[in-house]
């Protein structure tokens, strides 16, 4: 069955450092992959989408890579700030099914 794995442990980093979150998937070949941010008690908020033919995508301090050979996406936040503290969800998707399958999320805590 389709499986998505994200760092199960919380990630604690110092303000100003780069945070790197990992998303691994097995048993399918997504046409694209999305990343979302979720704050406590709130719904997820879309951050970035990367397609299978794109190796890297950037948006301000965010960078996403997509390696279809390794079946992995990396999500980077540069110059991290305490306001970046949240849970980050990845969702690799097969466009044909029209549904997003989410990973369990990684909790990021940026210490001032």
């Amino acid at each position: 069955s389709q499986k998505i794995e994200q760092n199960s442990e919380a990630l604690n980093i110092q303000e100003g450092k780069t945070a790197t979150l990992t998303c691994n998937y097995t048993n399918y070949s997504p046409a694209y992959l999305q990343w979302y941010r979720q704050d406590p008690g709130r719904g997820p908020v879309f951050l970035l989408l990367i397609r299978e033919n794109e190796k890297e995508k950037r948006k301000e301090r965010l960078k996403v890579t997509f390696d279809t050979t390794l079946k992995q996406s990396l999500f980077h936040i540069t110059a991290s700030q305490p306001a970046d503290s949240a849970t980050y969800l990845c969702a690799p998707t097969n466009g044909a099914t029209n549904k997003l399958i989410f990973g369990t999320g990684t909790l990021l805590a940026v210490q001032p």
């Binding site: 998505i4 994200q6 999305q34 979302y36 008690g41 709130r42 719904g43 997820p44 908020v45 879309f46 989408l49 969800l89 998707t93 466009g95 099914t97 029209n98 549904k99 997003l100 399958i101 989410f102 990973g103 369990t104 999320g105």
Partner: protein, 114 residues
Amino acid sequence: GAGVSQSPRYKVAKRGQDVALRCDPISGHVSLFWYQQALGQGPEFLTYFQNEAQLDKSGLPSDRFFAERPEGSVSTLKIQRTQQEDSAVYLCASSRDRNTGELFFGEGSRLTVL
């Protein structure tokens, strides 16, 4: 509306009661999704509508769960004879077109079954 609206935000039900959760998607959005999120977990897919057609209900956990979107806008998720394991946050999301792009989520309805 400006965003996806869900009601009620919080619902406490006694085991065996029926509940109905409402979702108002962004106006004009074609696709609507329901997800269930347990504490500390990612959202789990329940069902998907394209306009009024329910195209995928493979994630509904049992026949006690039923969703509808009769006019292709507002959707209702109904849970009959609630059980304690139904306690979770139910998230609704909509997207602009048929092809899955950015999903816009509501704040969720937190259901607690006693």
